[in-house]
Symmetry: C2
Subunit: 438 residues, 2 copies
């Protein structure tokens, strides 16, 4: 492998022949463990999305004179800018637009993962299986989105009811909603049980093993895609900054690692993804930290980004206006003596910047492992990309593989301790007010 490596999971757009040669190279080493792998690969190749041959006609004719490597670079860059523009547009659309986008992305990712499962286990003829997968997707979304909205609706119901306690209007208006909220988990469980019984009844003798494998496959897909989308929605509710900064960091890391790898990449990083290089990894990491901090600094100054989405009693609707929490108000930090410059012993920054530093380090060190995991998965099932919806990039899942890991990190990192502290402070204030303290 003396060729110049570049950091991309996509490869050359038109060299599907080269790609399939690659696959058979891999295979020679697999002979020992899988004799009939070759036949399977060919069958799979027909059934599975094989990636990025799908380029808009006008683009491929304009770029036909260029070498493959550069043509792909241009296509990828153009579509990266399209996606960034789209992302900005959605942010401009507000939190609801973001939540709907998250839902759509989730459904597309689920579809891509499940389609690979169908192709791998070749059970096209089996009755009910597609319906069952989608049924489980709907059920688990009902559960998780409900869990998110429940807290907010519960507040709304209780408040409305508290105001109108003596009259019956509350009960009539909120009757259905209250049942849905109160019995949410029970209803979700019943829906799941229906799917479970349906699965058991749909078992057909000669397909047992494939059906169970696909059942497991569906559940792992739900675990990856749905539960983590739920965490993303939670992050949005905590304030747009908790969503936009991490997502952008992963995007920056992806793009910059590709750029550094493309221009300077020499040293292979990991066997699993031969096109990734140390140059891309390090260049991407440093860019992520710098651009991430810069971005956080700018966003800290706008209430639109830092305020959580909450129910306002005075306005009677959800709002994004608040007195920014202490995280987003400049504070003075004393520098350790080794870092003091020009006799300046203090530094005034937004405390969020420090969190932002952890986030950017996570996204540049651990984030890529999400990508390696996805690469390994693709190699395990001999596919090039998860789909072919974005020219130069592959499927939706190819671009969101690291986002899910990041979302979970953000969720557990920043929100829970804050909430715990808040709970503790509320309790303390309450005790103090009642004279039970001091």
């Amino acid at each position: 492998m003396s060729e110049v490596r570049k950091r991309t999971t996509v490869g050359d757009a038109t060299s599907s022949a080269a790609a399939s040669r690659d696959v058979s190279d891999d295979q020679k080493e697999d002979v020992e463990s899988e004799d009939d792998a070759k036949l399977e690969v060919e069958e799979l190749a027909k059934a599975l999305p094989q990636g990025t041959d799908h380029t808009p006609h006008i683009l491929s004719s304009v770029l036909s004179g260029l070498p493959d490597r550069w043509r792909n670079w241009i296509i990828r860059t153009i579509f990266t800018w399209f996606m960034i523009a789209g992302f900005c547009l959605i942010i401009y659309g507000g939190p609801l637009a973001l939540m709907i986008t998250t839902l759509i992305v989730q459904v597309k990712c689920f579809e891509e993962i499940i389609n690979i499962g169908y192709a791998v286990y070749r059970i096209h003829g089996l009755p009910w299986f597609r319906s069952l997968s989608w049924y489980f997707l709907i059920t688990s979304n009902y559960f998780f989105y409900g869990e998110n909205l429940m807290d907010y609706f519960a507040v709304v119901i209780n408040r409305t009811c508290a105001h109108l306690y003596t009259c019956n209007v509350c009960n009539v208006n909120n009757g259905y909603l209250r049942v849905l909220v109160t019995y949410h988990r029970f209803i979700s469980f019943c829906l799941y049980i229906v799917g479970f019984v349906w699965f058991v009844l749909s078992l057909v003798k000669k397909y047992y093993m494939k059906q169970f494998s696909l059942f497991a496959w569906t559940h792992v897909a739900l675990l990856i895609v749905v539960t983590q989308s739920y965490l993303i929605i939670q992050n949005i509710f905590e304030g747009l900054i908790w969503f936009i900064v991490p997502v952008s960091m992963i995007v920056i890391n992806d793009v910059m690692a590709y750029m550094f790898g493309f221009f300077f990449g020499r040293t292979p990083l990991i066997k699993l993804s031969p096109k990734k290089t140390w140059e891309g990894f390090i260049g991407g990491g440093i860019s992520t930290v710098i651009l991430g901090l810069l971005m956080s600094y700018v966003m800290c100054q706008y209430r639109y980004f830092v305020c959580p989405i909450e129910y306002s009693e005075t306005l009677g609707r959800m709002t994004m206006d608040c007195e920014p929490s202490s995280l987003f108000q400049p504070q003075e930090y004393t520098l350790p003596s080794s870092l003091q410059l020009n006799g300046k012993s203090t530094l005034t920054i937004y405390p969020f910047i420090l969190h932002s530093l952890s986030l950017s380090i996570f996204s540049s060190v651990i984030g890529p492992f999400g990508g390696f995991f996805a690469s390994g998965f693709k190699r395990a099932f001999k596919i090039k990309d998860f789909g072919d919806i974005i020219p130069g990039h592959g499927g939706i899942m190819d671009r969101f593989d690291c986002q899910y890991l990041m979302a979970t990190f953000v969720n557990v990192y920043s929100l829970k301790p804050e909430q715990q502290l808040q709970l503790f402070q509320t309790l303390r204030d309450s005790l103090e007010n009642r004279g039970m303290l001091n």
Copy 2:
């Protein structure tokens, strides 16, 4: 299949030859889809636990004169009584003993599922894989058990700190615990990420597909076993009755369905488990409702069973003493006119009895589907039982397959609405006290 069917997942103890004949019968129909299945079956048969040949020596010599069918019945009955006695002993041991037992059962079930995975994918030589599975088990237990205990510890910490607010004793004593509680999810996530990175780094080229399959297998096992154990522990905290009644109902249903099937079974119930009969299903169902209600009636009268396990401020430790909630105090219900006998128009019962009725119906109608699912799983991977630890019964997982489904049902059915109501009432009381209502 004209032989008398009996409702058991175990089959005859000594007829492993018959069992393997059965497997090859199955196989003729599988030829179309799996050519090399025969070889695999033989290999698997060597690697996997094949069930109940394992009978204590003394028993098999005493029973040697009996027909297989009866010998197995006697062995199964004896060990059923042993297990029931053991269960009673553990209940006598109190909630901590029950929680520890739940943990042990969970670990054994996980081990059995994972062992099947290893055998199915034949990856004995792969480095790290056993360690990784166990690491994920420990990590997820740390997370879920922590989530359970956190609520209780958080109360303890906050209360202790509130009392001792002015001095520093609180901070010193609770320092470590507080960090563990406050950052619990973050710590759990970091532990998980270590496992995730470890998995990615352990990927070996020719085993990709098997490694990913086993990764999925491990996660589905965790989903089934660990998350549901967590719900069981929650049920125990709500009061022993919420644990003992459902567990006993599943046991009653299993035992009585086996008995009815053994003596009266004629009509096959479902293709998936040819030994299950409609007679067993119906007889087991009716017995479960009757015995379940009887049992609930008796247990409702003891505080030991109905009181939740809570932290007592006056005693400074966890207690199980309380004024029983309204669920466990006799109430008068007006009967619909069609049900009135001898002019009696009311019925005085514990409200819990009504919940108990729903639980018993669930455990006799939906519960068996847990068993069918497990049967299908065993057939998919051509194994007879999950293990051979209990003579006449198979593995631990063979006896607990339905328990997990039931635990989730109990958890979502009875606890959440109660808690919601409690929250609502607390809010209302608080508002009323402050003069904001009425």
